[in-house]
Subunit: 296 residues, 2 copies
Amino acid sequence: MQGLDLLGKVLLDEGGLIAGQLPTYLGALDAWRPRRPTYRDLVLDAPGFDPIAALAGAQFAYTVPNFSNPTGKLVGLAMRDRLVEAAHATGTWLVEDDPYGTLHYDGAPLPRMIALSGRQGAGKAYDGPVIYMGTVSKEIAPGLRVGWMVAAPAMIAALTTAKQGSDMCTSGVTQRIALAALESGLIERNQPAVVKLYRERRDALCAALAAHLGAWFTWEVPVGGMFVWALARDAALDTDRLWAAALEAGVCVAPSSVFDAAGRNRRALRINFTLNPPDRLAEGVRRLATAVRAMA
Amino acid sequence: MQGLDLLGKVLLDEGGLIAGQLPTYLGALDAWRPRRPTYRDLVLDAPGFDPIAALAGAQFAYTVPNFSNPTGKLVGLAMRDRLVEAAHATGTWLVEDDPYGTLHYDGAPLPRMIALSGRQGAGKAYDGPVIYMGTVSKEIAPGLRVGWMVAAPAMIAALTTAKQGSDMCTSGVTQRIALAALESGLIERNQPAVVKLYRERRDALCAALAAHLGAWFTWEVPVGGMFVWALARDAALDTDRLWAAALEAGVCVAPSSVFDAAGRNRRALRINFTLNPPDRLAEGVRRLATAVRAMA
């Protein structure tokens, strides 16, 4: 996630405008908070959403097309094309943050936006407006803290300067571990087991939700990633209050307000399914249901 | 050096005032550049230097009391006391950046300013204005990228929030390596050999300077650290030009202009002595002398 901080240093003026996919990754909001940005909400599935109007004039647009944190949603190919076209048309930088792209449980991966953008200048070094961010955090270990960015050479040069001013460089020890894991094929060999494990956990969580919380919440079964986004059927159910009640009941979920720079959305929950085995996921949902009933 | 970036995030407003020991570590200037700070020069050995006037109104004061990068100078005990008193009197945060403190070749180490400050509240948790920064970079390996900060609890809490927004956390792998090195006594066992090696190199560099460059430069033999600061006898000798000529002659030194946010000082050179063995240091000085003669 350090790439988000570096992006802010390179692209964001004090109080500058970010077009941010809403709900937004909490870590991104934290990274940019010191510059007091303003946000224009990118609600990609809103009726009549116009990517050009959404991107125009922003210092950059921030998206997580694969299984966004917090919603777990996948941005479809048509919308990826439209966002890339809008970035080219407006000249607004389009950030494609992709930590979850390899955690794909159903169906085939969609093309990355930077690949879609690159097609417009085939045969040349990439000089388009997409800035791609990857990581080994979800495939090896988050504790390595190794990721990468792919972008036009001038943008990479600016990000490198910002990186040098931030911490000189990332540890050579952890970079070498990550490189060895990538070059040796370790990640590819390990990935099917990871995907199988997480798919079972996703299914276990969704089954438990259906058994215990269907009366209060709706959700889509995510096709990848780490999270289920549960929306309260009753707009008056306050998930900030539910978060506190759930903690008392012995289960931790993330309330939707923290994924919104303005804290307006208090109707949804982000529920992680990758950390715990099925029986603990089921127990967690039972505790969450206890908390909901106590509030009702 | 990430601590410098975090300090900027916590303490520095856009365009804010830093009281910075001049010349200033280049990495610090780089870390704070995105916030376009203004600088008040702390020239600690200037006649009539008044620490209270120097610190008052600044968002923080930045010092490297042990063998500053670039000058290699040691700030004496009396001045440490005066700086600490001024920080208490003015309420200005006093940053004590100490990467070189263990590289002590002559004489005994002086007390850290945070220890001097802490004496004023003996028996209580430290709540003074000094922010201390340490690292294993000079004792184990800079490639670990592990350091620490010591400060009042409220300041540590703010720095921790800034750290989380910057990169979530430092790799657990490298933190564990550093911790094992500290706890096992590896650093203490290794340190005498490091000090002996670097002392010999310091002496070799200074001997070569005396043999080849005494007519053009003056310098103090540093009692610790990694650098000799050589001041041109002739104020008209432009070390930016000399830097370029020296590169052509096959030796790399750092011109004084890069250690000054305004780039005014073009009369001195920073020469590192820890990287190379004595014969290469001597050869480097011969090349530097060739470059000086070619400019004269």
